[in-house]
Each structure stands twice: as structure tokens, then as C-alpha cells.
Symmetry: C2
Subunit: 147 residues, 2 copies
């Protein structure tokens, strides 16, 4: 059984692992079963319920993939620290203007030049189920966090 | 139609994109549909037929996943260069002693301390079907290479 104290510690650990990594690679599965990934700029820390948010355009192929099959992976890599993090979760498209305003960061203009005025802008909400990580300090032995 | 000249150019382009990135994240799909990724040290350039090789232990869960479902993704991230590469392909476990000797590199001892003497050592062969990439020079517009 995972108590709420365990859950808080797990999320705190996971936040620390990815805090210096700005961009993750989100992998999803296409209709034909092929796996695609694409960079996603991290907009915020992981929330206390184990949720991670990304901005997206709503009418993209990845959203099509996710609406057909919600299971995704987000990987974070720090080659400087030799740290590698795999996050497995469930993705959902969310159109919530208030949440977008809360999460928006100027660096996102690289991907969304019109900012919050992009007509197609939406959020991807990832509910994290599990994370695995490896780093040189732990001699690359796989560590697992279940949320 | 993809001619062999096109194919050579595509592979040359793809080699260049990942040549400075030592480690990719390999994503595969588990029996329950969840997606997991893990770091894989690049052992060689992409071969001229579009094949990428990694060392693995044969009796690992990722091999179990791949034997049940061969479609995988390998992502390569260079945060210095703001470059992100997604490779979609078909994975296969290969136990070929000669190929292992050809591909072995000392840096792999971080993951396989016994080197080529690891009894469980094998290769993962990834046949690349498609790659997508993004970088800051191209203003993060998605570029696609079909092999």
C-alpha cells in the first residue's frame, strides 16, 4: 500500500530528478502500432497528485495518437549528470484557459510563437503511474518509483 | 519511391544528427500496454541498410517486451545543441558473437562490467523505418526522414 507520505516522498524524489532538465521526449503509439516521440518543453514541476503538464497544439498527429491510445512515456535525459528518467503515464487533452494562463512561460514562444493567443493551443495532462531512473552515482542500476 | 542514392543521403543525414549523442532512450510497450523507456549506449554509427545496434542482457524485461511487440522508438536528445531526434523501428534480439566482438567498446563496461564475458550478453538490432527531428536552427519545425 502506498501511503500519502510515501506518495509525497516519491513525487519529491521525481521532481528532483528532472528539475534541471528542460525538455522531455514524449512517446506515443500510432494507429499502425509504430512508436513516435517528440520534444516537449516542461512547463512546471510535477504536481502533488503526480500530474505533469505540457502545452500542445490540439490539431496535431500526437493528439490524434493520444486520443486513440492514452498510454505514453516521457523520457528525460541529462547527459551532463548521466541521468536518465522514464515516466509511464496516461495522457489526456485538456482545454482549460485558466490552467494555460497559470502554466505559460515565455520560453514556450520557441514552440508557440503567438503565445496564449494561438487559437489551437491546449494542454496535455499526463497522470504518472510509474517512473524508472538510472544515473552514474547509482552505477546505472535501475530504480523504480510507483505512484 | 526511395532510390538507393536517396537512402544513402537519408542515412548520412541521420548519422550526423546523432553522432555527438552517446546514449538514446529506447521505448517499448509492455503486455498491459504501458510504455517504458531506458537508456541505451550507442555502439556504432547507423549501418548503410538503416540498422542501429545496442548491447543488452537477453533476460531482461525489455527483451520480453520486444519479443512480444517489436515496434519501438529510440530518442536522442542534445540539450546543448537543442536537437531532438525520434527514431521509429522494429527491434529484434540477436545472439551473434562475431557482431558483438565487432561492436564492443570499453565505455560499455559501465553497463556490462564483465564485458564480452557476460553470459547473458546479446544485441538488439533496430531496423529504422522513420526518423523525425527538431532543432533550434530549423526553429523546431518537425523534419521527417523515411527509410
Amino acid at each position: 500500500m502506498t501511503t500519502s507520505t510515501d506518495q509525497n516522498q516519491h513525487i519529491e524524489k521525481l521532481r528532483g530528478l528532472i528539475q534541471d532538465i528542460g525538455c522531455g521526449m514524449l512517446t506515443s503509439v500510432d494507429e499502425d502500432g509504430s512508436l513516435h516521440s517528440r520534444p516537449m518543453d516542461k512547463t512546471s514541476e510535477i504536481e502533488s497528485d503526480g500530474t505533469l503538464w505540457f502545452f500542445t497544439n490540439a490539431s496535431t498527429h500526437k493528439v490524434f495518437e493520444i486520443e486513440h491510445r492514452q498510454q505514453v512515456n516521457v523520457s528525460f535525459t541529462s547527459s551532463d549528470k548521466q541521468r536518465y528518467v522514464s515516466i509511464s503515464g496516461i495522457a489526456e487533452l485538456v482545454r482549460d484557459r485558466n490552467k494555460m494562463q497559470e502554466l505559460w512561460k515565455p520560453k514556450l514562444k520557441a514552440w508557440f510563437p503567438q503565445g496564449l493567443d494561438e487559437s489551437d493551443l491546449a494542454l496535455l495532462k499526463i497522470k504518472i503511474n510509474r517512473a524508472d531512473y538510472w544515473d552514474s552515482q547509482l552505477k546505472f542500476q535501475q530504480q523504480t518509483i510507483n505512484l
